[in-house]
Symmetry: C2
Subunit: 194 residues, 2 copies
């Protein structure tokens, strides 16, 4: 019987090579040949795991989403004061180290790329739904100020998060972890009860 290779492992290896190409060279250098080279395999070998480019891109993007989701969920299941937990979860969405910055870069690049491809179900609203849920949760536990407009504050927080994420990615020197944390702590203080 055949030489047996861990399929899922190899696919992840190729997806990671795809990320590296995106981060280091940009989306227009994302070619099957470039990715195969970055992954250290031949073109035919890559095609053995992904028969079309669309399939490869879709897989690579979903893997980023899964990684981020896993990190958030890990925090969500921790035993922590709710406000502290909320802060940690939100901070996880602002890229402040090499790994999460690469993820953010891949994420934004894909968003821009898939906007004009209806074959991808962009699924760009995961973060919004998460923040919406978080805000509802905070309100249910009476942690929010009573006079706030929940829908408005959800959108505002969502804007702060994605804006910070974008700026941390584009200008990591100016928008570092310290600043992001200070801003989020301050913002949460403004919408939460004392």
């Amino acid at each position: 019987m055949p030489k047996l290779v861990d399929h899922e492992k190899k696919k992840k290896h190729i997806a990671e090579a795809t990320w590296r190409v995106i981060v280091e060279q940009g989306m227009e250098r994302v070619t099957v040949r470039n990715i195969a080279k970055e992954a250290g395999i031949s073109l035919g070998s890559l095609r053995h795991y992904f028969s079309t480019q669309e399939e490869l891109l879709s897989y690579s993007m979903n893997l980023v989403k899964d990684k981020v989701t896993a990190r958030i969920m890990k925090i969500a299941t921790q035993q922590l004061p709710l406000k502290e937990k909320a802060l940690k979860m939100l901070l996880e969405l602002v890229p402040t180290d090499k790994e999460s910055m690469a993820e953010a870069e891949v994420w934004f690049t894909f968003i821009a790329y898939t906007r004009h491809k209806e074959q991808f179900d962009a699924n760009q609203d995961g973060v919004f739904l998460g923040i919406q849920q978080l805000m509802q949760y905070l309100q249910q536990y009476n942690l929010l100020k009573t006079d706030i407009d929940l829908e408005l504050e959800t959108e505002r927080l969502y804007a702060v998060i994605d804006g910070l994420a974008l700026h941390a990615m584009l200008n990591p020197k100016r928008v570092n972890r310290d600043l992001a944390e200070k801003i989020l702590v301050h913002h949460l203080e403004q919408i939460c009860q004392v």
Copy 2:
């Protein structure tokens, strides 16, 4: 002597065709042939105005920047109460009609594209500098609350603006002009004196 064509006008016409290709088809369809077709001219004709693709892209991007800057400056020179003026200027940065949404799309696309090309001087910090100046201005005229951290609030406002801009672009139905205005009014109320 020769046939005389308004060079700058024609270049703008081509740049606008470039924008349309970006907005409707995405960056990976931005080819000299596609753009020439969209502009209704021949490939050779396009090359007569832009001898390289890089030149064309650089020009098209700068034109977007100029358009947005002009709109903001027009508001800046209006005779208006300062807080009202600030709101109008900030709202101008959140795309809520077809034209400004196209501009935002072009802008974000270019940012993603030029990140990996050092031959473009990305010049992405224009908005940040503008908001920084606006905040300093508000403080000088004693319109800001006295106990705020100026640097922090500048970064937060900048994040809200770019986050809103991104969301308005990606989900114009949910993040429309009404919502953007409500959020900005509310945000300014929180950092301004009563």
